[in-house]
Symmetry: C2
Subunit: 215 residues, 2 copies
Amino acid sequence: MKVGIIGGTGGIGKGMALRLSQNHEVVIGSRKQEKANVSCDDCCTFLKELGLPFNLMPSTNQGVVDSCDIVVFSVPPETLEVTIDSLTGLEGKIVVSLMNPMEKADYFKYAPPEEGSAAMQLQRMLPDSKVIAAFNNIPANKWNQISEVLDYSVCVCGDYEEEKQLVMDLVNSISKLEALNAGPLAVSATVEAITPLVINIAKFNKMRDVGVYFR
Amino acid sequence: MKVGIIGGTGGIGKGMALRLSQNHEVVIGSRKQEKANVSCDDCCTFLKELGLPFNLMPSTNQGVVDSCDIVVFSVPPETLEVTIDSLTGLEGKIVVSLMNPMEKADYFKYAPPEEGSAAMQLQRMLPDSKVIAAFNNIPANKWNQISEVLDYSVCVCGDYEEEKQLVMDLVNSISKLEALNAGPLAVSATVEAITPLVINIAKFNKMRDVGVYFR
């Protein structure tokens, strides 16, 4: 399974590339090839220094779509529409959403689009793709700290059972993450809302990088 | 702090009475005094057999309101309105909501009232009470199994900081529950929605009595 990351040069995208490239062929995507090259070089140097194996290459976002079976959208929700408009050929692909739209006031509020969740919005924009929500509630800072074990529960939602299972396998291949089938894509609204919740919990209880475990 | 439970003869209410009566003066409330008496006798016999101390008494729901500082609403969300209409004197009281409105289809769906959450609905109905949401995501079966340690994270939401702290203390006094300040009452929508989520996770992943931990 070749996995590509749209927005792969961002914080979470880069951390995900570092983690996934241990066990998978991974393509780091960016709007600009040059930016993807730089980020990929960084990652490769970093992984080489750690003596870790990896399989990583850079590309444009369109190159990710053209070459990968699983396309992860790791972009800010507000840039989703313009990103989608710039791409072709997503039909039939497994598209993974880890987006959590939120607003900041005195505390972080979940701010879903009218479709109900960012993943449902993505599915509406890409009716011929198979959208699966996953990786939503992993603390952003933990992705990059590659020496740290990730042992969180990861809710996976989607309306396509076979593709959901493939994404669950992908989740389970990273560190000690535990994929849980959380049901259809409509459930992603609750899963996305947990991200502002854990950020608030961290803030109000003086904790750091709060994650979620379902046991 | 005297704690009363409206709907204290139901499954969760009874389990909560058993647990809370170890450290607090607890009043089990019911629509009918006779029903409260029977439930309270059951609890007392059970706790005596276990050689545990307890401080428990039965009352009507109105008796709970008249005699308690903290009033826990452990009633089905659909009976909330008629229950509220039958009571007077809730002004100024700390009112705890553990309700999680949901619908069952192929999976459990969070089904909040138009106020946004059951706790927010309760606050709208009781504008002069101090509503705090707590205890939402504890697996129902675990309340009654008094030999079992409860070590879950418990999100506590509310717009009254002092009263929220009192309810957090109440949470922390039960077994090994860990109270977390989750922010204002508006956050209760996400917290309530986690209950159908964990029920779905249990079902789809062949797990039992799934609880939540934020760490």
